[in-house]
């Protein structure tokens, strides 16, 4: 198609691209306010030396942190963070259920913020820090929220549980003692088809687990 400038040689990208995908996005984000919001001039001097490169559709080297460990892998741009975590890094806590950002089973933290891993491209998370349910705690050293899910019998089939645990940790980090409306709004992005909401509410009402470690 006209104007298409995609390349297939990105499998072996050079160092410049690799370092860009590691740190470029995060670095530029901080530039907003002081460098001319909406003016279109921000960052121009720094960036005009090199035209923006198009990578993919073949694999592209991406570096990101998952549960405290740095991973470098080659993924196609179309691979979602969820599929990359599950299929490439064997981090299977986040679940693929709706794959459309409407169920919450894939909830992870990106730089401490809850997101749907199904709706983020892995390449977009380059240079960022991802925390999944595995990163919150382990069976031997559970995060307070994980322990509270066990104590309150807050799961049945368990498929939504990893997403709920992460969303609950994020909610409690924001509201250590949430009100009822805050609980409803804070967990409104996660569904449980077994109907374990009563137990999950008990977890949150216990107020345990504010704060997120491992991310």
């Amino acid at each position: 198609m006209k104007g298409r400038r995609v390349t297939d040689d990105a499998k072996r990208s050079g160092f410049s691209r690799r370092s860009f995908l590691r740190g470029g996005a995060a670095g530029a984000l901080s530039g907003g306010l002081t460098t001319g919001l909406l003016t279109g001039e921000a960052g121009a001097a720094a960036a005009d030396s090199e035209a923006t490169e198009t990578v993919g559709p073949g694999p592209v080297d991406v570096e990101l942190e998952v549960n405290g460990a740095t991973h470098r892998l080659a993924v196609e741009p179309r691979v979602t963070l969820l599929d990359g975590l599950r299929h490439r890094l064997d981090v299977t806590g986040p679940k693929r259920v709706c794959d459309r950002g409407t169920c919450g089973a894939c909830t992870v933290l990106e730089d401490g913020r809850p997101i749907y891993a199904c709706s983020r491209l892995m390449i977009e998370s380059a240079g960022r820090s991802i925390t999944t349910v595995e990163g919150l705690g382990s069976p031997d050293a559970m995060h307070d929220v994980q322990q509270a899910f066990v104590d309150n019998d807050a799961q049945q089939c368990g498929f939504c549980t990893p997403g709920f645990v992460v969303a609950t940790a994020a909610l409690l980090a924001r509201h250590p003692a949430p009100s009822e409306p805050e609980i409803e709004a804070g967990l409104g992005g996660n569904f449980c088809r077994c109907g374990t909401y009563k137990g999950i509410r008990a977890v949150v009402a216990g107020g345990k687990g504010g704060g997120v470690s491992g991310g």
């Binding site: 198609m1 006209k2 104007g3 298409r4 400038r5 995609v6 860009f20 470029g24 996005a25 995060a26 670095g27 530029a28 530039g31 907003g32 306010l33 460098t35 001319g36 919001l37 909406l38 279109g40 001039e41 921000a42 960052g43 121009a44 720094a46 960036a47 005009d48 035209a51 923006t52 490169e53 198009t54 990578v55 993919g56 559709p57 196609e76 741009p77 179309r78 979602t80 794959d99 950002g101 409407t102 919450g104 909830t107 913020r113 809850p114 997101i115 749907y116 199904c118 709706s119 983020r120 491209l121 390449i123 977009e124 969303a167 994020a170 409803e184 709004a185 804070g186 409104g188 992005g189």
Partner: protein, 324 residues
């Protein structure tokens, strides 16, 4: 998803250059676009990621002028105490994007330019949802969530949570393109397409929405959404109102309906009716009736006419501090 290329420009100029090429699409928060790609609704050769573009993210409150970068996430805006204090209705509109994950990922620009939710469009039948012999799948099919103010062949509704409020406020959109910067009223971002080639927004190839700017001083605004579910869904109907002038009179009233038409629907007659008037239950009810005058509901969405009346009444009540 089909394979696609990916570019992550650092500047607006680079982004504009990349997006001018056919088959390129801007990627903001991704919550809408990735679904469209997974369902193969929109063909894309290359995504141009805006996440790292300088100058598109941030919030400025400069006297009475509120400036919001298009890549500001909804949560960042919700957490900006100054913006919310200056325009409390923003909190209602943002909270209507009902999941923390979507607010963390979704951006202001992405909310404004998200594609319609019409299920015929989402199934690949196009924005106009016409059969091969030109009949409307919407009028002959399930139209319970569709427009009560259709525009020609366009019968989907504009799904934005922020657009009705920004249009009511008279906010401006800042757009960058190959020819530089242009400013236009937010309502002029939208159009009702009449051919299969047209989109529901007016951005030309290569143009990106950089942000919005609104004067938030000297007016009172409110948003009221009528919802089927409190989480993870769009409202059935929404109304945004902006009243200028000191209480109890409204020197000028702007009333805008969301989820009612292919574009944010400016209920001009209703606003005119209230301008210069004192807000009472009578004048508010008259404005609500005027807001739905000329509505053309279809077989399954007549209920939305009453929802629109109610949304207008309650939004006006909230803006004026009245019990309605």
């Amino acid at each position: 998803m089909r394979p696609f290329g990916y570019a992550a420009p650092a500047t607006v100029q680079q982004a504009v250059g990349l997006l001018a090429a056919e088959g390129s699409e801007a990627l903001a928060g991704g919550t809408d676009l990735l679904s469209l790609l997974k369902d193969d609704v929109e063909p894309v050769d290359r995504l141009v990621a805006l996440r790292g573009v300088a100058g598109l993210s941030g919030i400025e409150l400069d006297g009475g002028t509120l400036r919001i970068g298009a890549m500001t996430t909804l949560q960042e805006l919700r957490d900006h105490d100054g913006a919310i204090a200056a325009l409390p209705a923003l909190a209602v509109a943002i909270d209507g994007v009902a999941s923390p994950q979507l607010r963390e990922m979704g951006t202001v620009g992405g909310d404004l330019l998200q594609r319609p939710r019409c299920w015929y469009y989402r199934r690949g039948f196009g924005l106009l949802a016409l059969t091969a012999d030109g009949r409307s799948m919407v009028t002959e099919g399930d139209n319970r969530y569709h427009a009560i103010f259709p525009a020609g062949q366009a019968r989907f509704v504009n799904p934005s949570s922020l657009a009705p409020l920004l249009v009511a406020l008279g906010a401006e959109a800042v757009v960058h393109g190959p020819a530089g910067e242009r400013r236009l009223p937010v309502e002029a971002l939208y159009q009702a397409p009449q051919t299969a080639e047209e989109r529901e927004n007016t951005l030309a190839p290569g143009e990106i929405l950089a942000g919005v700017e609104a004067n938030v001083a000297g007016s009172r605004s409110a948003v009221y959404e009528v919802r089927q579910r409190r989480s993870l869904d769009w409202p059935l109907m929404a109304a945004a109102v902006t009243l200028t002038g000191s209480e109890p009179r409204a020197e000028k009233a702007r009333i805008v309906l969301g989820h009612a038409a292919p574009t944010p629907h400016v209920a001009a007659a209703a606003g005119d009716l209230l301008s210069g008037q004192e807000l009472t239950s009578e004048t508010v009810a008259a404005a609500a009736d005027a807001a739905v005058e000329g509505a053309q509901p279809m077989s399954g969405n007549r209920y939305k006419v009453q929802l629109a009346r109610t949304a207008v009444r309650r939004a006006l009540g909230h803006a004026a501090g009245m019990e309605i």
